[in-house]
């Protein structure tokens, strides 16, 4: 086992991995950009090394600086977290080349899964259902029209090198196809330096369901059930849960076996996630593989009792999985709400500022993974996620009730958050019924500036009281001032009089 691990990340995921290291008795090494000197991950790590200025491109994304910090500290392994360099095959390779263990899959698997079209090909060959569409890049709109006619509108044009919605276009009929192809290609070119695009069937109201897999370097690979992540805004997940309200045991087994087949086909080692789209008839289609620990991994930890970050480290150290597929049991229900500094009433616009009040919920069934504390700043430089709030309960109802309680207890001032947004979603009858889709927010969420009348009244009273106090203080100090100045005046008169006595008498 390693004695020291460097965490090439910041925020809550760096804290998460520091905690896994502590549990294993391994020393943790943080890296930090200038504004992160006082960040929670630096406060909690055993050691910490500066790696440059605020911009990620000059700090957290600079492979050489990370490797250099690992060398200086004597860390034997690097955990990349998610984001930044986590799915960068060149970084994984640089670790290998420097004799440092990269805690994640081999560079070849990262590279293969990073190419969305190559991944589709591998999956299809492994017998995993994929969304109907092209297997080769589309060159022009004529090719696109042909294929679209075959799979039927609406279609989705996607970038082969893509991700994050860039180079993506929905096309509803043939008249739109020409400009969509042109637009997607140019966007893909500028975003990824690669203008290859492909076509998929566009599913109406799909659900996003993903399977956690984990594989050791000895050929063992198991799946740890699914997570449903259908509640998304701006193509980003905000609420995730396990198990999925849709998935039954036979669907779980089918999806799980497909995911394990996919992982094996890709020569996958370590923790990974196979993402699927599903419809309400429990059909599912391969979407992509995330070759890292997901943001939402804790919901799986809560329902399986398996600590994924710890397993990642053990696997990277060459250990065998300590469990087999038969040992995996899903118990209870877990929900994650991502708490963001953003304003849901203005299109989820990020919000920045100092967390002048920051009080996390606690108690039965609550887990908070955060990278902040009272007085910390949510800056423009990094992701505006404040924390991941998780609840666990014996069933979905209890997990939801506990989440509503936790959201109620959370106290944040200084930045606008999506806490009330989460409450609204969790109380929506369609959410309660488990009828989810990636269009849920568009369909059901109406931003509102409304606030409960009693809250507004109490706020008005608080405001009036504070104004009253301030005015009283003002008039008190004004009274003091005027008293003082009378004294001063008197004193001055006295002195002047004396001077006069001495001088002008």
């Amino acid at each position: 086992m390693f004695t020291k691990i460097l965490i090439a990340n910041r925020g809550e995921i760096a804290v998460r991995i520091i905690r896994a290291c502590r549990d294993l008795g391994i020393r943790s090494v943080a890296v930090f950009s200038e504004p992160d000197r006082g960040a929670l991950h630096v406060r909690l790590a055993d050691e910490a090394y500066p790696i440059g200025p605020a911009a990620s491109s000059e700090s957290y994304l600079v492979i050489e600086k990370i490797i250099e910090a690992a060398r200086k500290s004597g860390a034997e392994a690097i955990h990349p977290g998610y984001g930044f360099l986590a799915e960068n095959a060149a970084f994984a390779q640089a670790c290998v080349d420097s004799g440092i263990v990269f805690i994640g899959p081999p560079p070849s698997a990262i590279r293969m899964m990073g190419d969305k079209m190559a991944a589709r090909t591998v999956m299809k060959a492994a017998g995993v259902p994929i969304v109907p569409g092209t297997e080769n890049p589309i060159d022009d709109d004529i090719g696109a029209i042909k294929i679209a006619a075959w799979i039927g509108y609406p279609i989705l044009i996607k970038a082969a090198a893509g991700g994050g919605g860039k180079g993506m276009r929905i096309v509803h009929d043939q008249s739109e196809i020409k400009s969509a192809v042109r637009g997607a290609k140019s966007e893909a070119k500028s975003a990824f330096g690669d203008d290859r695009i492909y076509i998929e069937k566009y599913l109406a109201k799909p659900r996003h369901i993903e399977i956690q897999v984990i594989a050791d370097s000895h050929g063992n690979c198991v799946y740890l059930g699914e997570r449903e992540c259908s509640i998304q805004r701006r193509h980003q997940k905000v609420i995730e849960e396990a198990p999925s309200p849709l998935v039954n045991p036979s669907m779980r087994k089918k999806m799980g076996q497909a995911a394990v087949a996919a992982a094996r086909a890709a020569g996958y080692v370590n923790a990974g996630t196979v993402e699927f789209l599903a419809d309400d008839h429990r059909n599912f289609y391969f979407l992509e593989v995330n070759t890292r620990l997901q943001v939402e991994h804790p919901v799986t930890e809560l329902v399986t009792g398996i600590d994924l970050a710890i397993e990642q480290i053990k696997i990277a150290a060459g250990e065998k999985l300590s469990f087999s597929q038969g040992d995996i049991k899903i118990t209870g229900h877990a929900i994650e709400c991502r708490i963001y500094a953003e304003d849901p009433s203005s299109g989820f616009l990020p919000s920045t500022g100092i967390l002048s009040v920051y009080h996390e919920p606690a108690g039965p069934g609550i887990r908070v993974d955060s990278g902040v504390y009272e007085g910390a700043e949510i800056s423009v430089y990094y992701d505006p996620m404040i924390s991941k709030l998780l609840t666990f309960g014996k069933d979905r109802l209890q997990a939801t009730a506990r989440m509503l309680r936790a959201l109620e207890e959370y106290r944040i001032s200084g930045v606008t958050t999506n806490i009330d947004f989460h409450k609204t979603i969790l109380r929506h009858p369609e959410f309660i019924a488990g009828r989810l889709s990636t269009h849920f927010i568009d369909m059901y969420y109406k931003p509102s500036d409304e606030f409960p009348e009693n809250l507004a009244e109490a706020a008005a009273i608080a405001g009036a009281l504070m104004e009253h106090q301030a005015q009283n203080k003002l008039s008190l100090s004004a009274a003091k001032r005027s008293r003082v100045s009378q004294w001063k005046t008197a004193g001055r008169n006295l002195i002047q009089n004396r001077t006069a006595e001495k001088g002008w008498r």
Partner: protein, 184 residues
């Protein structure tokens, strides 16, 4: 820490006590609040409420209004407070009776001035300007796209307006609160 109910300021007790009237506007709601010297009861829109106030620390306050608990952080801003309630903030405009009388004497038009410009809600990079000078926009129309925190954020019109002036151009970095567009 100070507890208005438990420890009235003896100095204030000796002084004359005048009930003060405050006019509070939150969003579209208006409240007239009468605070007497003791501050253990207030009258809000004619209804009397027992109030117990406790300053938890710096700007954080606990209010028991008829025994029902609220917690707010109050940050003074022009003409009132930003009142943070745990997951966001309300803006409360507060005018005391005296000031209002003064304002009327000065012939001021009072409250209700409309936002006459679009300001950047966060620092970022202008990606696109979606309107032109002279253009009529309606509520919800996109005006400017700003990239911040790796996301593109569209700033939209909160009310119908005419574009008078555009003070930024694509590619320009902007500060928080910087004026981007001026309306007529």
């Amino acid at each position: 820490m100070e507890n208005s109910r438990a420890k009235p300021h003896p100095k204030q007790d000796r002084g004359k006590r005048v009930a003060m009237i405050y006019k509070v506007t939150i969003g579209e709601k208006k409240y007239e609040i009468i605070v007497d010297g003791k501050t253990t009861t207030v009258t809000i829109n004619g209804r009397t409420v027992n109030v117990d106030h406790k300053n938890l620390r710096s700007k954080l306050h606990s209010i028991l209004a008829d025994n029902i608990g609220y917690e707010f952080e109050l940050v003074r801003v022009n003409g009132g407070f930003d009142i943070w309630h745990g997951s966001g903030s309300l803006h409360a405009e507060i005018i005391d009776e005296k000031s209002e009388r003064l304002r009327r004497l000065m012939g001021s038009s009072g409250t209700g001035t409309k936002a006459s410009s679009l300001r950047a809600p966060m620092p970022g990079l202008v990606v696109k300007v979606e309107v032109e000078v002279g253009q009529h926009v309606k509520k919800g129309d996109g005006l400017v796209i700003v990239e911040a925190m790796k996301m593109e954020n569209e700033l939209r019109a909160h009310a119908p307006a005419i574009i008078r002036e555009i003070r930024i151009r694509p590619g320009q970095a902007v500060e928080k609160n910087q004026e981007l567009i001026v309306f007529e």
